[in-house]
Amino acid sequence: MSLDLKLDGRSEDRFGTMAQGLLGTPADRPEGVLKVTGAATYAAENLPENCAFGMLVRAPGQGKVTAVNADEVRAMPGVLAVIRDERMIRNAAQGTANEAPVQGVDHAEYVGQPVAVVVAESFEQARHAAQSLKITTEGSPGPVDPDAVEPEGEPTRTGDLDSAMKDAVHALDLTYTTPSHSSTPMEPHAAIAEWDGDRVSVRASLQMLKYNRNELADCLGISAENVRIQSPFVGGGFGSKLGITAEAVSAAIAARELGRPVRVVQHRRQAFETVTRRSETTQRIRLAADAEGRLSGLGHEALVSNLPGETFAEPVTQASAFAYAGAHRVIGERLARLHRPAAGSVRAPGEAVGVTAFECAMDELAVKTGLDPVELRRRNIPDKDPSSGKPFSSHMLAAALDDGAGRFGWSDRAPEPRSRREGEWWIGSGMAAAFRVNIMMEAEARIDLTPDGAVVETDMTDLGTGTYAILTQIAGEALGLPAESVTVRLGDTDFPPGSGSGGSWGSATTGNAVWLAALDLRRQIAARLDCDEAELTLRDGQATCGNVTRALAEVLGGDDLRGHGHITAGDAFEDVVQSTFGAHFAEVAVSDVTGEVRVRRMLGSFAAGRILNEKTARSQCHGGMTWGIGMALTEELTHDRRDGHMVNRDLAEYHVAVNADVPPLEVHFLEELDPWSGPMQSKGLGELGICGAGAAVLNAVYHACGVRIRDMPATPDKVLAGLE
């Protein structure tokens, strides 16, 4: 039995009438104590008996690969195998690929491609042997410069932007560039594989198990029924663990060959290369506006890159299609096929860099038109999606702009740049709008209800995001149980397939599946009480119908009940455009003598439908805003101009924002229920905080000191050059 729902049209809000009072509270994570005491076991922990250790070996160049001294290495102390198997993967699979990525070890298509795995009795022996394996490559490198190849793809054209630009009172034609970015989650990419006959079990650090299972099966050439993946705890992913990764595939291959469990952990420097990066972008943005700042046309064209054979192209302009009005449009990406390491989804693919550049351009338009940046955006909010003509499910941009501006004290800001100075520091503020499409996927979940409470199971993952907490709250609210009576089990392909974590869709999609499973149970309980489910009140383990109240345990009468929910997106995601909205505000100080930028405060107002847990939601926004600071000021992967290799593939050279870089961040949520988003009326929030955050910082830099940085990040040398 299962309660299936395909989301068509608007949904009724069922949680407004529930009585437990758990959903929406800033509840702690139920697994929090396990994590801070080290009792939560991550992928590389829980070593099985007799486990051997594998270390990946990278290609030092591009071209035909030869392992020169494999036999010598095989004879080294402790070495069990030197494996170069054609099923090993070139790079991590793309998110939701559901099939193997490009495989093979004979030809390196980028510097750093894994071309062997060396397995030994101990980690140290494996590492020593892997470092001793001499790999040579033959052949000249493929193209690595995005400007040196003819890109694929064409933007979509509506109307006549060229004419609109000519006729406009204010026209801007600007180019912004962003470098490659890395996800670099805290937990390294790790896997332990163990075979039992023809079945392989893999403990891994992955985001989307139902896809990963099919991807791994396809890589190995076995049936998916013979693959089990467990990822109960994941120490951050940000897109880098969406698709099956090199260590999981090679651990499975090695474990099969050796007939014993094998663990492979990627070194941080390996993960930079083998796991997908965010593509660099070159973005041409054109804005045509009348005297009042109303857009008659807009262009957003982006050049991105990826390896041959990869389907993914950073969807830079995704939000530009619906963000602002303007009849004449040129929007879309071109993809350069390059032999840099593969590109893929990194937190908020598309909007993270696309909204950031576009919102910088909007700031430039505000300056050009003499309008306040908040007012300029307000004037250009479309009443329906300008690209498709469809209505929005809800539109909260104006509300977010007003809320944020009020709280930040925006009206006190002097409009002119270089208005405020403190010693050697220029002080200024900037803002940006935030947009992120709302996506629903397919998910299933089940709940077992016993007199002891409820157990929720789905293969959904928790990347540190708060999935355990939120699913506890949803089930507890719907079933009238306190949080202590709800157990959530995640991250095991033996459980019903959830949505996986990615694209911000995790809690809204899988959360609705949990709701449906609970609804299934509510109907069974109501039937036992002979009442209509809508009349049923469940609270603190008591069931009330009309004026009859009975303990839930009594209603169960010794039976255990099972509810199963299954949700899929329907017309609700076709008939209307669904998005989350927000507004970022930042205050920065820019040193007149060194060009350093210090972010002094940052504030975001966000709307994402019902907020399921204020604490975990706030943490997501903090994370996104922190990434925005990194993107604006420090994060930059550098590719060697000759062979595309990543020069700065470690955290000493690729600087992500850390405590010293991040000021107090203020996050506010707007009251909203979006009936189109599903019965929970809740939309994805995990990525909204990064979209546009960097633009608020860069716009503040301009306002502080008059320097416009269009080539991100705004490092001190670039800012200083502008100051002089």
Binding site: Q131, V593, T594, G595, T634, E636, T638, V647, N648, L651, A652, E653, Y654, H655, A660, D661, T715, P716, D717, L720
Partner: protein, 262 residues
């Protein structure tokens, strides 16, 4: 890491002897050497730890000179020179993090002579002296380029002597990820002269900015260097900053150090 032997002599003589062995290397705090070994960039046959040698310890004022034992940790330098040599104390207190400061030593840092190391700037500005088991080497002879010094194979830095200035200060522009100086400037003011030592900037390693030294000797104020500039030629250029940017920072850091000198 490759395999090596480990020896922990109790006296300077024993250490000197142990270091005569082919490919033996001294180990100070290990804050540079251990990571180097881990990356397999060095392959000593034997590490000779200097930790247990009393002759390398001790920080003491001897007249108008400060003597720092080669085995003194950054933490000890920061604490024990506070009232005597403000600039050096400040410098030591900002090297790395507490773990680095509790292990890393002045002798190790000067022997290594990383182009972005802090102490070389202080030694150069003060025109101090490196004392080894065999001789005394003046700062200007001691530094010979990136990672290169006048030290012979197996020679041990036993102490460092700094002529004590009236006023001093160190300013470093931190590279955000490692917090090593992108450029660091040490300023030391004496009765008859001023020393300005610059680290992190030049392709030739630490140097004394002579024009600034002269200008500041006449007028120890930030404005004294207003009309001076450092050429970008010969400055390092990398991911973290261009040669032009580094050249610019030399002047900015010098002015800040002069303003803050105490």
């Amino acid at each position: 890491m490759y395999a090596f032997e480990f020896e922990r002599p109790g006296s300077l003589d024993a250490a000197v002897k142990a270091l005569q062995e082919e490919d033996a290397q001294a180990l100070g705090g290990g804050q540079t050497l251990i990571p180097t070994l881990k990356q397999r960039l060095a392959m000593p046959s034997k590490l000779v730890s200097l930790k247990g040698i009393a002759e390398l310890q001790g920080i003491a004022q001897e007249g108008d000179v400060l003597k720092v034992g080669g085995g003194s940790t950054h933490g000890a330098v920061a604490r024990e020179t506070k009232g005597i040599f403000a600039g050096l104390s400040l410098m030591a207190s900002k090297i790395g993090d507490p773990a680095v400061r509790n292990r890393g030593t002045m002798g190790g840092s000067l022997a290594n002579n990383d182009p972005a190391a802090c102490y070389p700037a202080a030694l150069m500005a003060t025109r101090g002296t490196v004392v080894t088991n065999t001789r005394e080497i003046a700062a200007e002879e001691y530094f010979q380029g990136l990672f290169t010094t006048a030290l012979e194979e197996g020679e041990i830095i036993t102490s460092i002597r700094f002529p004590l200035p009236e006023k001093s200060n160190y300013q470093k522009f931190e590279q955000p990820a490692s917090r090593f100086p992108l450029v660091g400037v040490f300023v030391a003011k004496y009765g008859d002269r001023v020393g300005v030592g610059v680290t992190g900037a030049s392709e030739d390693g630490v140097f004394a900015w002579k024009e600034a030294e002269e200008a500041l000797a006449g007028n120890f104020a930030p404005e004294a260097v207003d009309d001076l500039w450092v050429s970008a030629e010969g400055m390092m250029s990398d991911l973290h900053g261009t040669a032009e940017y580094r050249a610019h920072l030399v002047k900015v850091m010098t002015k800040r150090a002069v303003a803050a000198a105490e």
